[in-house]
């Protein structure tokens, strides 16, 4: 492991609370994690360690944070209150901010129609089930526009605005 390139303040950039530093590598987060069954496994403890050591390059290349199922067991069980799930999200945020290829395409979907998928357009099916028409934001262009304007003020959208431009 190349340690000379490590950034000792990386933890501040990623997860600026001391929660993470409390980790004493007990491995509780690992043993019950669903995504730890993956290949490669999500090893929350190891990610925490990489952050603490400031292993920037290794961390930037690591995909496992995205395998998290967000079940938050680690958060519940962590004896040191490291808040590992928050850390996972923070690593993703840091990766997204530092590597545009990490930016999840789903946010473009949300920007465009309010959701990651088309909602409320299955009118026929809904009717057959006796369901009313759904007042989705997709069907409320004025409102959607306001929502988009708001998002445009947020870092991920403003910094990657090309992704959101109408073709």
């Amino acid at each position: 492991m190349d340690f000379s390139e490590s950034d000792k303040d990386l933890w501040k950039a990623i997860y600026n609370t001391k929660d993470l530093l409390h980790c004493f590598n007990c491995s509780t987060c690992l043993s019950g994690c669903p995504a730890s069954h993956g290949n490669p496994p999500l090893l929350v403890r190891n990610l925490a360690r990489m952050v603490v050591y400031g292993l920037e390059d290794d961390l930037l290349d690591d995909d496992t944070a995205w395998a998290c199922v967000s079940c938050s067991r680690c958060e519940e069980m962590c004896p040191m209150d490291v808040k590992p799930f928050e850390m996972i999200l923070s690593i993703r945020k840091w990766q997204s901010a530092n590597d545009e290829t990490r930016v999840p395409p789903s946010i473009v979907e949300i920007y465009k129609r309010g959701y990651t998928q088309s909602v409320g357009t299955n009118t026929e099916l809904r009717e057959s089930l006796g369901l009313p028409e759904l007042q989705t934001i997709t069907k409320m262009p004025e409102m959607l526009k306001l929502y988009q304007e708001m998002l445009m003020k947020t870092p991920v959208v403003s910094e990657n605005d090309y992704m959101f431009s109408e073709e």
Partner: protein, 294 residues
């Protein structure tokens, strides 16, 4: 009581029969529902919560403000939506800076958030507000003679101080008690608390391992219980457990995996006498074996 119904995306788009079941069953129990017009993505953990706080919390704020404007608490069925909204609300409720920033953003849209609205899960409403007793008194048909197993949505359990409502999140019981209220026998099994594995990147990035993971759960159900059905209270659990069985059968060349999966509200609505075609019609594993016996 009246609650603001937050449907998310999967339920209305893919499994609207669940939506129908909710809309049908809850008012019967005295829970009136009001739609969250113009709601947006909760947002999903894999989206804005994975990019930055502003976009995450602004979206949470957007949704919360809709209910707040109505003066109602939010009711959610989807586990991810529930957890995302509750965590988002938690950030905003406990961090004035974040709330101020979100209000700054919401102001552009003419909205405002005081963070008064609470986010509640449908199973919690049923368990705490309605109660098992009222449910058994209300239903017209019963699941008597049927065995079920439960799948707790992780998102309603952990972290307990933010999303939890169970007395003991490590030994939850709400869904079991609710299902028993419908007359079913609920069997326990070793992997009851195991996550379905359907959410997040896990099942997409390493499908082989994820399938093995859920298979261990289904195998436990088959080997250890007499389950006629699986009951869930989360759209992800429902879809994943339902859909994966077919894939497993195809992969293994068997028809071993054929346990019907229901959302709790579907069973509730069925017991209330609603038309199965409306409240429980969309599934991969056929549900006749259960529906015919209600």
């Amino acid at each position: 009581m009246e609650l603001c119904l937050f449907l998310g995306c999967n339920t209305p788009a893919i499994r609207p029969d669940v939506e129908r079941a909710i809309r049908a069953s809850m008012p019967e129990l005295g829970v009136d529902l009001s739609d969250a017009e113009g709601y947006v993505c909760c947002p999903a953990f894999g989206a804005f919560p994975s990019t930055d706080d502003d976009s995450y919390l602004a979206s949470s704020g957007w949704n919360l403000s809709i209910a707040e404007a109505k003066g109602l608490d939010i009711m959610v069925q989807c586990g991810s939506c529930y957890s995302s909204l509750r965590m988002g609300r938690d950030h905003l409720a406990h961090d004035e800076t974040k709330l101020a920033r979100v209000n700054e953003l919401l102001e552009l849209t003419g909205r405002k958030l005081e963070c008064k609205t609470k986010v509640r899960h449908v199973s919690e409403i049923l368990y705490n507000e309605v109660g098992a007793q009222k449910i058994s008194q209300t239903i017209k048909k019963s699941l008597e003679g049927l065995h079920g197993v439960v799948q707790y949505p992780c998102h309603t359990l952990f972290p307990s101080e933010i999303v939890g409502f169970e007395e003991s999140p490590r030994q939850p019981k709400a869904l079991r008690i609710l299902t028993e209220a419908l007359g079913a026998t609920v069997d326990t099994y070793s992997r009851e608390l195991q996550c379905c594995g359907g959410a997040g990147g896990f099942s997409k990035s390493t499908p082989v391992e994820a399938t093995a993971f859920v298979k261990s759960k289904l195998d436990a159900i088959i080997e250890e219980t007499q389950a006629d059905f699986i009951v869930v209270s989360c759209i992800t659990c429902l879809m994943y457990l339902d859909n994966i069985q077919k894939k497993l059968n195809e992969a293994e060349g068997t028809d071993k995996y054929h346990i019907p999966v229901f959302d709790y509200n579907q069973l509730l609505a069925l017991c209330m006498g609603f038309d199965p075609k409306q409240v429980a019609s969309i599934c991969t594993v056929p549900r006749n074996s259960v529906i015919d016996r209600i």
